[in-house]
């Protein structure tokens, strides 16, 4: 068996020469190079693992001298030497193999550690980059995305349902919506409400400002303030462009880079294509809490008591056993912590004065039934 390697010698002009190395017999290692050969006596030699990747074996002539030296690429020669009949050589080979194993293992743990660290950083960077990219995306895209997403959203949540066309219901919800959007300082979005004739208790906002409210939710709510709480939460999702952020994050770094670099056309194509499917994904937990905070602030600014949302949450959670139709709760689970945070928020953001809605809630529910 021949091995590839190098012979290092101070007398060589380059300091080293390429060599072909073989085990001549159990006592001698022979290195043949251009212009000569070198013998290393194995029982006197030092055997070391070396090289940046720990995959080279050094043979030094004795315990003291480091010149000349023979280097063998790869660690296979150690396996061969571990079968050597000379016990001393055998032991040296075994020791060197052990050292190599340790070094490799140490490196592996390091690599795993670094990869997880980098993965963490990248996901952080992606979130950051997504926020930056979203700022560069024109608001029109949100509207476009909402338009594209609407049919598929309805198809997946309440297939085949018609719209509620009762004038009083529509007007009342518009009143609530207008009070909230009037409290927004400045908004690039045009908000509209679509009420769907479905027993499911749900409401969701599409990017661009279209808010879909399902009949079941209106029947469940006991007051316009409760509905206002949910709308405020959904409006915040739209204002913060959470859907777009989510999509940008999920379509990946490439799309983000394309947008940042300025190639919005191709980046946009990717986004819109993936968008309608991704809309069905829920928002991340941080987005939800952002919407909670934003919703509470908005309620306070619109002079609406902010405990409506909490009451609604609690009521839905009490009936948790009959989970049927409670879709909004499914995507907005009320953990103890969330309830606590919401209550703290409602104490923090209190409206200056309360202006009750002039809406006959009983009438609305009767019309809907």
């Amino acid at each position: 068996m021949k091995y590839k390697g190098l012979v290092f010698d101070e007398t060589f002009s380059e300091g080293k020469k390429e060599a072909e190395i073989l085990l001549q017999n159990e006592y001698t290692l022979l290195a043949r190079f251009d212009g000569g050969e070198l013998h290393i006596e194995l029982d006197r030699a030092q055997i070391h693992i070396g090289g940046f990747d720990h995959d080279m074996v050094y043979f030094y002539p004795d315990a003291v001298r480091k010149n000349p030296a023979v280097l063998v690429h790869g660690a296979e020669i150690l396996t061969k030497l571990a079968e050597n009949s000379n016990p001393e050589t055998r032991q040296k080979a075994i020791n060197a193999t052990k050292v190599r194993g340790k070094k490799k293992k140490f490196r592996l743990t390091g690599i795993i550690f670094i990869i997880s660290l980098v993965a963490g950083l990248i996901s952080l960077a992606t979130t950051e980059a997504a926020s930056i990219a979203v700022k560069l995306i024109p608001v029109k895209w949100d509207e476009k995305l909402g338009e594209i997403g609407y049919p598929s959203a309805i198809a997946s949540i309440a297939p085949g349902s018609s719209r509620v066309d009762d004038k009083y219901v529509i007007q009342s919800l518009d009143t609530i919506k207008n009070r909230l959007t009037g409290a927004l300082k400045k908004t690039p979005f045009k908000y509209s409400i679509t009420i769907i004739n479905s027993p499911i208790e749900n409401a969701f906002a599409l990017p661009g400002g279209r808010i879909v409210v399902l009949k079941g939710l209106l029947l469940k709510a006991r007051s316009p303030e409760e509905v206002a709480g949910i709308l405020a939460h959904e409006i915040t999702h739209v204002e913060k462009r959470h859907a777009m952020k989510q999509i940008v994050q999920n379509t990946g770094l490439m799309a983000i880079l394309q947008i940042i670099i300025g190639d919005t056309a191709s980046g946009g194509a990717v986004l819109l294509q993936a968008g309608s499917e991704l809309l069905s994904l829920g928002y991340s937990r941080s987005m939800e809490s952002e919407a909670d905070i934003g919703g509470m602030k908005l309620l306070a600014a619109a002079n609406i008591p902010s405990d409506g949302l909490i009451q609604f949450f609690k009521k839905m959670s009490e009936n948790e056993k009959e989970m049927k139709n409670m879709e909004w709760l499914l995507t907005h689970p009320l953990s103890e912590k969330r309830a606590q945070t919401l209550e703290e928020l409602s104490r923090k953001y209190k409206p200056g004065k309360v202006e009750p809605f002039n809406i006959d809630w009983k009438k609305i529910q009767n019309q809907l039934r």
């Binding site: 090289g51 080279m56 050094y58 030094y60 480091k66 030296a69």
Partner: protein, 224 residues
């Protein structure tokens, strides 16, 4: 590809003579001047993630520029970021490990990869990853101060801020020189102990020492 290193050893630049259709890759921002027949193509070499890895871990630029003489022969000049020597190495199917930021330019045939230097390198002050350049072609790298080649035979100790590059037949460990007291008081901190045989490229000045020295002259706004 012919070249000439001008202004050695303090503030050198490398002047490269490209034949027609010959190319050279360089770090972004390294170009100083060029003749008009050279075209530039900017790309993230090896894809976005490789480039990110190289940028974050080894201190190279995200984008690399490929300069090609498309209209007859041309001349192009590159300069490193800091004052210090430029070194030319003719690579013939071999590998070299470079420390953070040392690479300036090289033949397009050279393969550049980031190499994990082990846990130890996190304390080495040279970035977590090294750059492994392999293949055949011309390679230009820079140092802070002058460059000296050390022929390591067996062992060699070098301050971690003075490593420019080394041959992959060498392995190193980071250790402290002397006891705990020396670690904090001797000003030597951590050093690298290289083992094996091969060439080690040493720079005669250290970035961090220079930065620490220059910091003393930095204008500090007084707090009101």
């Amino acid at each position: 590809m012919k070249h000439e290193i001008i202004g050695k050893p303090d503030f050198p630049v490398v002047k490269i003579y490209l034949e027609h259709n010959e190319s050279i890759l360089a770090e972004s921002g390294a170009m100083v001047s060029m003749t008009s027949g050279i075209t530039i193509e900017t790309r993230a070499r090896g894809g976005v993630f490789s480039s990110l890895k190289r940028m974050v871990m080894s201190g190279e630029s995200f984008f690399q520029n490929k300069f090609t003489a498309t209209n007859g022969s041309g001349e192009i000049i590159f300069a490193p970021d800091t004052m210090g020597d430029v070194h030319f190495k003719k690579m013939s199917s071999e590998d070299i490990i470079l420390s953070r930021g040392a690479y300036i330019a090289g033949s397009p045939d050279l393969v550049i990869d980031s190499k994990w230097g082990g846990f130890k390198s996190m304390f080495g002050g040279e970035g977590i990853l090294f750059l492994k350049v392999s293949g055949t072609g011309a390679l230009f790298f820079s140092s802070f101060g002058a460059i000296d080649e050390i022929d390591v035979r067996g062992e060699c100790i070098i301050d971690n801020g003075h490593i420019v590059g080394f041959e992959p037949t060498l392995d190193f460990t980071i250790e402290k020189l002397g006891g705990i007291k020396s670690l904090f008081l001797s000003g030597e901190g951590f050093v690298c102990r290289f083992r094996g045989s091969g060439k080690l490229y040493m720079q005669t000045r250290n970035h961090s020492s220079f930065a620490a020295w220059a910091d003393g002259w930095r204008k500090v706004e007084s707090r009101q």
